[in-house]
């Protein structure tokens, strides 16, 4: 099944932010003299989980909207939200507990997509695009 262009666009945007902020985090670990291989592995694992979680979220939302039935869409999104959270928790616990990656380097990248989304209106304005959600009032009418 072909991916919705919105899914590709949004996931790409988030992936760029996760990569940029991961580089920044590695630099901070280097500066404070705490860098080692476990930090790098934790960062790679955490970043992959963060982007993967966002991609799965985008695919779920896109497919639920394609179905067009409100009740079924709500149930589908509710079920997969819990599953995704359990999956993210299990992978992070596996990385930290079994592969002994740095806890902070593994967990901090999970918050990078949120930081990217916080800057989204600013990036859209710079590109000359109307920020997402600004046309919401038209939808209500």
């Amino acid at each position: 099944m072909a991916l919705d262009p919105a899914v590709r666009k949004e996931t790409g945007y988030i992936a760029v932010w996760v990569v940029l902020l991961s580089i920044l985090m590695e630099a901070v670990f280097l500066l404070i003299g705490q860098w080692d291989l476990s930090v790098l592995l934790g960062n790679l694992g955490g970043a992959a989980v963060a982007v993967g979680n966002y991609f799965l979220l985008a695919v779920t939302v896109s497919r639920a909207i394609d179905k067009g039935q409100a009740d079924q869409a709500a149930k589908q999104v509710r079920a997969t939200a819990s599953l995704r959270l359990v999956g993210v928790g299990a992978i992070c616990a596996l990385l930290v507990g079994v592969f002994k990656t740095n806890v902070y380097a593994t967990l901090i990248p999970l918050l990078f997509p949120r930081i990217g989304l916080a800057f989204r209106p600013m990036v859209d304005r710079k590109r000359g695009i109307e920020p997402s959600g600004a046309e919401g009032s038209d939808l209500i009418d």
């Binding site: 919705d4 262009p5 919105a6 899914v7 666009k9 949004e10 988030i14 979680n53 966002y54 979220l57 985008a58 939302v61 896109s62 639920a64 909207i65 179905k67 067009g68 039935q69 409100a70 009740d71 869409a73 709500a74 149930k75 999104v77 509710r78 079920a79 939200a81 819990s82 995704r84 959270l85 993210v88 928790g89 992070c92 616990a93 930290v96 507990g97 806890v103 967990l107 999970l110 918050l111 997509p113 949120r114 989304l117 989204r120 997402s132 959600g133 046309e135 919401g136 038209d138 939808l139």
Partner: protein
Amino acid sequence: MLELAMGIMLGLLGLGAGCAMIAGIGPGIGEGNAVAKACEAIGRQPECKSDVTSTMIMGCAIAETTGLYGLIVAILLIFVAPGSFTGILKEAIK
């Protein structure tokens, strides 16, 4: 005595981690409601589908973050806190 104190402390840390995961329930419910309303909006105005989908994905990601905060707290309570609390307890008893 030290063993008992550590047992109680580790049990409470596990309980705290479990309580932190309650935060994971809310985002799912909220996302579900938001997507249901988005479906209704697209049903009324099908030409807005791409805009609604983009906005929905962003909104759901923001809602999802609250669940991730709980998850991070739970993982820290399980993997980081026992070591540091055990050290504090040993120091206090010495």
